[in-house]
């Protein structure tokens, strides 16, 4: 048998039909649904008189619109259009009989945090969601990617997607990360190296010692941003850490099924002599704590660096950098660690898990944030929130001056009341620094939770290594 990559193996296990031109019907094992990209799909089914083929494989949770403050189950506390969208999901979930976690359920949270937490995401599965950060689930060795609303409707009706196979790309991070350097720094540094289109048309498999050393939470952070590097999906081969994370979760297999699943999961790795279309190798020694300075996730530099000049770039990027520096209100040559911030946002599907809250709380323990700053911490799910309270992390955040919020997408994308005002500058643990992403005119610097906590203490972008 020819050698295969992990992606080849999962792909082959899910092809329900292949046409002569290579167009495939790929079977979908898990379909996650949220309120923003699904209403038109459910409406389409209704109009065509179609039903959902596999309601038991379909899981819905509202996350993008929901406020993160108390009293949010009252629609009065949402804008009218948000309330309509959340109500539509509620109606669709109940009417079509799919698994559903409403805002009043402690298990509610960001869809990409809820899926793994509940054991819906398992190795070797195909997982889709009308959301580009579905790549997150690749951390379990499942082929997971975002789809558009027409495809959401297609999966609801047929439990398949029309797909052509992508190319294989390997990103290897050798060696060990230095203290203060995290999964977020890996994923941002990879995007800096490849650019936001470097992974286009590929599925990335992340491997190497630094990746294996990461916890499941860290691996989810890395895969989450595969899409920011242009790849639809990121993968990490499952190992003992993966199996230990899954075991005992509500929807994980049990008993004899667990043993059968485990036996198959252990075959899910890229063969030694597998052929790659593209290979990137980086040394963990070369990865420092990083921040973004511009309005594209590829605009990444170590915190010890300075704001670049448009003339450091070539082609169309020159104009893009001029535009982004103007938007960001930054001048070339400014030390990144001199950039003052107004707001700190810790949360999102990239960094809203328990380990992220622990990392930030470690830096904040016994300290206060700079006066005048607005700082919010938004756990990724009700269960993450509960655990953080149990571990005393919530108290550390509160004591430091952070607002301790309820679970949701929050300020990552400003579809809910958590938004930046024009010109406001934010240290954010989310995934996109696009113009207007966190609110019209808002200025986003992406970084790790530990770096965001350090910035909260000093009021400027800060090298967290000075605090550990």
């Amino acid at each position: 048998m020819p050698p295969k990559t992990l992606y080849d193996k999962i792909w082959n296990a899910h092809v329900a039909h292949e046409a002569v031109d290579g167009t495939c019907l790929l079977y979908i094992d898990r379909h996650l649904v949220h309120e923003v990209t699904s209403p038109q799909a459910f409406e389409g089914l209704r109009i065509a008189g179609r039903s959902i083929r596999s309601p038991d494989k379909t899981i819905a949770v509202p996350d993008h619109n929901v406020p993160t403050t108390e009293g949010r189950e009252d629609p009065q506390n949402m804008t009218e259009d948000s309330a309509i969208q959340v109500a539509a999901l509620d109606k669709n979930a109940r009417e079509f009989g799919i698994h559903y976690y409403p805002v009043t359920d402690i298990r509610q949270g960001i869809v990409h945090i809820v899926g793994p937490e509940q054991g819906w995401t398992l190795p070797g599965m195909t997982v889709v969601c009308g959301d580009s950060h579905t790549a997150t689930h690749g951390a379990f060795g499942s082929l997971a990617h975002g789809i558009g609303t027409s495809e959401v409707e297609h999966v609801l009706a047929t439990q398949t997607l029309i797909q052509k196979k992508s190319k294989n790309m390997k990103v290897e991070i050798t060696g060990k990360l230095a203290p203060g350097v995290t999964a977020k720094d890996i994923t941002l540094s990879v995007i800096q190296r490849t650019g936001t289109a470097g992974g286009t048309g590929h599925v990335i498999e992340y491997c190497g010692e630094a990746i294996r050393d990461l916890s499941m939470e860290g691996r989810m952070t890395v895969c989450n941003m595969a899409i920011e590097g242009g790849a639809r999906a990121g993968l990490i081969a499952p190992d003992q850490k993966t199996f230990a994370y899954i075991k005992g979760r509500p929807h994980a297999p049990k008993g004899a099924q667990w043993e059968a699943a485990l036996a198959w999961w252990k075959t899910l790795y890229s063969d030694e002599d597998a052929i790659w279309d593209k290979v990137i190798t980086m040394s963990a020694d070369d990865i420092a704590p990083v921040v973004t300075w511009g309005t594209s996730p590829e605009d990444v530099l170590p915190i010890t660096d300075v704001v670049p000049s448009p003339h450091d770039f070539e082609g169309g990027k020159v104009g893009a950098v001029e535009r982004s520096l103007e938007y960001m209100g930054l001048s070339p040559g400014t030390k990144l660690s001199d950039i003052k911030i107004d707001t700190i946002f810790i949360g999102s599907c990239t960094n809203g898990r328990i380990e992220d809250l622990r990392a930030a709380a470690d830096i904040l323990r016994g300290k206060k944030i700079q006066s005048g700053l607005r700082a919010i911490v938004v756990p990724g799910s009700g269960l993450v929130r509960e655990q953080a309270e149990h571990e005393g992390l919530a108290e550390i955040f509160r004591q430091a001056g952070f607002e301790w919020r309820l679970a949701g997408c929050s300020m990552c994308l400003a579809m809910n009341p958590d938004q930046l005002r024009p010109g406001e500058r934010c240290a954010a643990t989310s995934n996109r620094n696009f113009e207007g992403r966190q609110g019209r005119g808002g200025r986003t610097h992406l970084m790790s939770p530990a770096m965001a906590a350090a910035a909260a203490i000093t009021g400027r972008l800060t090298d967290v290594r000075e605090m550990i």
């Binding site: 329900a16 031109d21 209403p39 619109n65 580009s132 297609h154 992508s166 099924q257 104009g319 207007g436």
Partner: protein, 201 residues
């Protein structure tokens, strides 16, 4: 889905690279539960000042480009969020074809589901088409999907590649779900087999 056969129309130049779907349709407009009506807010934050007045410098606000049906753009167009609201907004505005050196995968896919033709050419040819687009309303480009060609206002002709299945669907305005349901027997068979092999799924 609306079919796409030939199109002769005005092309607007947008040379900026990495135009993301947050720029194409900002998040505040994703709260709709309909597919229609998003054209008014296409490129909203570039197109309008905060006061709500039009920014006269933005290309689609210039008289000659108001009725454009084609965009010629910088590379990596449509990166970021998977929102299908981006092609819905483009379509609602009247855009039927986008030409770039590269597209982000999800956006590219979403275009085909909505009767929009995204065309990829080399940087050199995109530069050439960008120049043609800069001539404004007098420069009409013609796109012929059947012969897979773009003809500039000067009569220069460039051929493009396109996936055969996608071309077939666009030419005939076919609905994916209907096509897949014709293959339902294969899905049934796969499901039965996979239930035996991977009963935990």
């Amino acid at each position: 889905m609306e079919r796409f056969t030939t199109l002769t129309g005005i092309a607007a130049p947008m040379p900026l690279v990495n135009i993301d779907t947050d720029m194409i349709i900002p998040k505040q407009f994703l709260k709709t539960i309909k597919r229609s009506g998003l054209g008014a807010n296409l490129f909203d934050e570039m197109r309008y000042f905060e006061s709500g007045h039009e920014n006269p410098e933005f290309v689609l606000n210039q008289e000659k480009y108001r009725d454009c049906q084609i965009l010629v753009t910088g590379e990596n167009f449509g990166c970021g969020s998977s929102r299908e609201h981006a092609p819905w907004a483009l379509m609602d505005f009247g855009i039927r074809c986008i030409i770039s050196a590269s597209f982000a995968d999800i956006f590219y896919n979403n275009c085909f589901k909505n009767g929009i033709l995204p065309l990829t050419f080399s940087q050199e040819i995109v530069a050439n088409l960008m120049q043609d687009a800069e001539k404004g309303a007098n420069a009409r480009m013609t796109i012929d999907l059947e012969t897979q060609s773009v003809t500039t206002s000067d009569g220069e002709r460039f051929l493009f590649d396109i996936d055969r299945f996608r071309k077939y669907c666009l030419l005939n305005g076919l609905d994916d779900i209907g096509l897949t349901l014709e293959k339902i027997a294969f899905i049934d068979t796969f499901e039965r087999q996979s239930r035996m092999e991977r009963p935990w799924v």
